[in-house]
């Protein structure tokens, strides 16, 4: 019973944190462009408004898989240790998170393909191709953790970094950090890798047919994805956090760095993006893996 309540609270917290980050990053973007920008709670307003509108559903698959997309990412969020706290006792296995996240993405992919819009299918094709690009470097980084510790439990990895900045993996495994930062930029769909959204080319791709509540669900899904992805980087490389606040602050910094990168780059085509990710992010990840295996 307690756990059920914890799940709900955890899910709400994940969405709220993600939406807050999205709002602040819009504000930051605006300030960089010397605009005043929307208030930082704009994303919350957008989501409530989206849920308040009529929505057009094309078939049952579209409804079901939109929910599945959110559910998959929320399941992944349950294993992200916010400052050592988890909604229910577990070791927060990294492999499980990496398996749950694609359920979220694939749920969304099936949902929008079911709408039958060709632009949505193009967007999904691009998103899944890009997924091939960033999953492989990230998987290699995870392997270098396995070769170091023989475990993928995030809690043990966080404990190994306890006791000061010099123990953080960002210092000990800098190549791995860079590789996963690049992968994260692609995971969050930020600018050099925003080829699947591309409003000017394919009319915002996967979102093209989403109206009202579906768009609200897509926003919530993105916010949970932001929470999970920045949470992973924080826990793996930035020492996690002793308290919830410390953890969220580090997540925030990671997301703002991603936003800053996003502001100075133009968009890659999809095959350029995949090539870049495989060569540079993949290369850095392999160097890290080799170093870790050599030094052990």
């Amino acid at each position: 019973m307690m756990y059920a309540l914890n799940f709900v609270l955890w899910a709400l917290a994940a969405m709220a944190i993600g939406l807050l980050f999205m709002g602040i990053s819009r504000k930051l973007t605006a300030r960089l462009q010397r605009r005043y920008g929307p208030p930082f709670w704009q994303s919350f307003i957008d989501v409530i408004k989206a849920f308040s509108r009529k929505s057009i559903s094309h078939n049952f698959i579209m409804d079901l898989c939109a929910l599945m997309g959110l559910a998959g990412l929320l399941a992944a969020a349950m294993y992200v240790p916010m400052g050592g706290i988890l909604p229910f006792p577990s070791d927060s296995p990294l492999i499980l998170i990496l398996y749950f996240m694609p359920i979220g993405y694939l749920g969304m992919a099936v949902s929008v393909s079911a709408s039958g819009n060709p632009l949505a299918s193009i967007g999904i094709g691009r998103a899944l191709t890009l997924m091939l690009g960033y999953e492989i470097p990230f998987a290699i980084v995870v392997m270098s953790f396995i070769s170091n510790y023989g475990t993928t439990n995030i809690l043990s990895i966080m404990q190994a970094q306890a006791g000061g900045i010099e123990n953080w993996h960002i210092i000990k495994m800098p190549f791995g950090f860079l590789a996963s930062l690049l992968a994260l930029e692609a995971m969050t769909g930020k600018k050099p890798f925003d080829v699947m959204i591309a409003p000017a080319e394919i009319a915002s791709g996967p979102m093209v047919e989403l109206s009202g509540k579906f768009l609200g669900l897509a926003f919530l899904q993105y916010s949970v994805a932001v929470f999970v992805e920045t949470g992973l980087l924080t826990a793996l490389f930035l020492g996690g956090g002793a308290t919830v606040w410390e953890f969220v602050l580090k997540q925030f910094i990671v997301y703002m760095v991603l936003t800053l990168f996003s502001e100075i780059y133009a968009r890659y085509r999809v095959e350029q993006a995949v090539r870049f990710l495989w060569i540079y992010a993949g290369g850095l990840a392999v160097i890290q893996l080799a170093l870790n295996m050599y030094m052990k």
Partner: protein
């Protein structure tokens, strides 16, 4: 063909729940531009650093499904009217239409043209018109702020008018769209 039915403001304002939702709707407006006439060039300055409409929560959106506002810039030719009606009907409720420039209001300098329509309000319900040939970004922002106030007070009810008077609007649309049928013999090809 019955009379034109208007929506009274009281019906909207008395619904407390609608009022709460309107509070959020007015602060987050996504806009779809239908820029076939003049005037599209006034929108980039309105969006970007100079006038920055995002500070009011107004942003561009790519498709009718996602958009709240349909902004129609400039003259509407008889052929584009068909696309405008289609886009409008694809948008989910509540939706608002803004006519931009003098031409959608009363024809403007294209008043006696054979190819354009004169009163956009006869074909789809226009909530707000920005006059001027063409309106500057200040006027656009001013108009959008007026629209925000109208939504707040529950006065922007164009989409309800369209539902109640569907037949009336359809009849007007048909009259124009008949003129756009191909005149040359296509030899059976469509």
């Amino acid at each position: 063909m019955g009379d034109f039915i208007t929506v009274s403001r009281q019906e909207i304002v008395d619904n407390k729940w609608e009022r709460v939702l309107n509070f959020f709707r007015q602060r987050s407006l996504w806009m779809l531009y239908y820029c076939t006439g003049c005037g599209a060039v006034e929108l980039p300055p309105t969006m970007t650093s100079r006038f920055d409409m995002e500070r009011f929560g107004i942003g561009p959106m790519a498709t009718p499904r996602q958009a709240d506002i349909l902004l129609i810039t400039g003259y509407v030719s008889a052929k584009t009217l068909k696309r405008i009606v289609r886009s409008y009907e694809q948008m989910p409720d509540p939706k608002y239409v803004v006519g931009f420039g003098s031409c959608p209001v009363n024809g403007g300098i294209y008043w006696d043209s054979y190819a354009t329509i004169n009163y956009l309000d006869k074909y789809i319900p226009v909530d707000l018109s920005l006059t001027g040939c063409m309106p500057r970004p200040q006027a656009v922002l001013d108009g959008l702020l007026t629209l925000i106030q109208m939504i707040d007070k529950g006065e922007a009810v164009g989409h309800k008018k369209y539902q109640l008077n569907y037949e009336w609007y359809k009849k007007n649309q048909r009259e124009v769209l008949e003129r756009t049928a191909p005149v040359l013999d296509t030899g059976g090809l469509k």
